[in-house]
Subunit: 494 residues, 2 copies
Amino acid sequence: MSAAAEAPGDWLRKRAALSPSAPALFVDRTVVTWADLDARVDGVAAALATRGVAAGDRVAVLLPNGLPLVELVYAVPRAGAVLVPLNTRLAAAELAWQVDDAGARVIIFDDATAPLAAAAASTHGALVHAGDLCAAVRPVGASAPLSGIAPPSLGDVHSIIYTSGTSGRPKGVMLTFGNHLWSALGSALNLGLDPADRLLACLPMFHVGGLAVLLRSAIYGHPAVVHPSFDAQRVNAAIDDGATIVSVVATMLARVIEARGPVPYPPTLRAVLLGGGPAPRPLLEACAARCVPVVQTYGLTEAASQVATLAPADALRKLGSAGKALFPTDIRIDHADGEAAPGEAGEILVRGATVSPGYWNRPEETAEVFRDGWLRTGDLGRVDDEGYLYVLDRRDDLIISGGENVYPAEVEAVLLSHPAVAEAGVYPREDARWGSVPAARVVLRPGMSVASGDLRRFCRERLAAYKVPVEITFASTLPRTPAGKLQRRLLSGP
Amino acid sequence: MSAAAEAPGDWLRKRAALSPSAPALFVDRTVVTWADLDARVDGVAAALATRGVAAGDRVAVLLPNGLPLVELVYAVPRAGAVLVPLNTRLAAAELAWQVDDAGARVIIFDDATAPLAAAAASTHGALVHAGDLCAAVRPVGASAPLSGIAPPSLGDVHSIIYTSGTSGRPKGVMLTFGNHLWSALGSALNLGLDPADRLLACLPMFHVGGLAVLLRSAIYGHPAVVHPSFDAQRVNAAIDDGATIVSVVATMLARVIEARGPVPYPPTLRAVLLGGGPAPRPLLEACAARCVPVVQTYGLTEAASQVATLAPADALRKLGSAGKALFPTDIRIDHADGEAAPGEAGEILVRGATVSPGYWNRPEETAEVFRDGWLRTGDLGRVDDEGYLYVLDRRDDLIISGGENVYPAEVEAVLLSHPAVAEAGVYPREDARWGSVPAARVVLRPGMSVASGDLRRFCRERLAAYKVPVEITFASTLPRTPAGKLQRRLLSGP
């Protein structure tokens, strides 16, 4: 037998060959074709090589959505390097930790993220302004493709995306070219592929959900409408202008619907992919009443975004369900005695072509989470006898605030680093706008005192704003099990 | 890193889990749902195991299109065995050779193919009537899935499909689960996926083109309308009844259009995939005039059917082109000095995830045809500067007659086995109905004589009817190069 050749990993290159003059991007009031984008990306890849970026290097990118970020998403792999998209909402200390952990060779920033980038660059990471890479290639077609870079294999790592964990220490999720490709194909087999499709990218591309929208766009050959940040009015305008598939989290969808008022949506809007945590029932009912075709999804970074989705046809019959496992994935529910029967609750396990090979430089956590071919999500759920998944509780007290994950352990670790704090517990508080927000209860060291406002300021310097507890109360003890384990669920009580 | 899990290889099983009550097949005036089909196939797989079929065995299937063939296409891999679909139009001697070459454990037949099957069973192949496997499971849900069969990997061989070659000896093309899956995905990324799609399977499933329609149906979750054989009126009725994608060869399309008369086609017909050889320009123009959305394709068994397709939008601008290489494939043109420049003619090479790992038990031919990751098709073509492929001549004097491949060398080998024949040359003759038909010129041995009709009868006993020369003429010499190589192109002259 001859060696099996694979599907392509440079999706942009293939797409530019297939449909060069079709629109690839609607961004910053301009239209960029696939051939234009491909030529620009050649230029950026060459500029990265000039800056010393070589095969296997990690390239951290600290940029908001926009043409430079899009170019880098394609150019970093084309230069043979691994993309490390950084969350622009994180605090400098958090970013510095991730840059260091990834061993990034360069950190790419723009004017808006310059101060953060400067503060984040520590032992690793030469600072490079995106304008120095991207502006250089404005005359399209001036750059030749980089030579000497082997085309990627589907098993190669495409990107490392940081996700916080129960230990409080963020972990870099490695996602391969194959993970991303199968994620896109699984989504297409579920939602269909309409030649008129236009994908709205209003989620930040430093999260897997936003990145997946962009990559699907190249794999499908459908243009992406890229918004620099979320703006409800602008989302509505994009839908009126022909966006057919919109990816959002629940808090965004609520604001989009609210901003819309009574104006109906055009029939061209064929799917609103709703991810990033649980969807409140009133929101789903409001969408159903307005014929908004909501497709609920359950996904996670470790599985390259969508794992299961619920078709609009099932939205009311299976209210609260995240639907069925997509074509490339399988779901299993495990409890203490092994595989759960239909209807029984347990931990959600995921297997398939979209599942990450593991965490960057974390063999122990990888071995713990990825076992026997299954990803142990830590999330609690059940699968009914028709195969529909119900997510009962997100993993390990995870607080989902406006689609961003907040791990109590990570916030507690910061509180505990304050000299006056002896014990800290972080728990979710319901919030009309964000779904949930973090709150904290602390026990002070004997003889020490600190004001709640000072503690919050202490957190703000070390954590992204959405992770800072909205309220910090003081107590003499925290609820614990006899073994001393913090019982966070009891913190929200009186 | 943990081992990467793959996309599923039992597409029917996954599809039945995703959309159990949706229609899978319209066949024999009945509708079969995915759950029904899945249960039936469990029964057939169990029946195969009872007959001694074990993992890795080859199972030859000599059946026309219909529910039993569909069930076996899914059940043979589910039993861990390799599917060997046999062309029901072949002569018994040809079939016996293939059954023997494949080392088939069983040959499955029905009432119509019983005499052929009996004649084809030689040293290999126990005869099993399809009714004994399939009828047994009519009460749906009675059979449990076979245990102990490992799920297929995408690199495993799914089927072996015989194709004749220049040497005159048919070769078994091994196609993996991954080859078929990527073929389906490449086609979807090209044509789109509409939830209303309904695929017409009127091509025989013992050819890769017909088999691919059925497998796409399960991978997409779109029902297949299965016709027992080609009937132009019935194709038109299926289109009126909602078939959206129809796969045909040129001679079939001409008859469908002719049978239609002036009645327009409904807008639900969104693609007529036209493969199996060159399309005559008048046919393409007639289709354009009637707004029939013809999608010309270039494909071959060694690449699991479609390699390139031409979008209807380009049909007139690029008349005569077979379009661009699909998402999972690359095309290159090679001439004697290496890779050809745009516009230059040369041999068509194909690479990608749909390309076969090689020929069954033919290491030498495999090494010759599959080199450095490229499949050398033997077909002559050029690629223009926009990347559109033009097929200039099919490989090695191949005659395509009504979509069936006729290799002159194979027919010549039979003629040469007649005691009176010293030399034989087979060449194409234009035919209004079939596009081309084979004709032959022979040189008799000194002192020997044989009537043309007797020679044709001799061929008919050893070859499929469509391979038998329509006319055999006699000559004292055949045109040859100075080195003695037959110049078939000169045979059609005076």
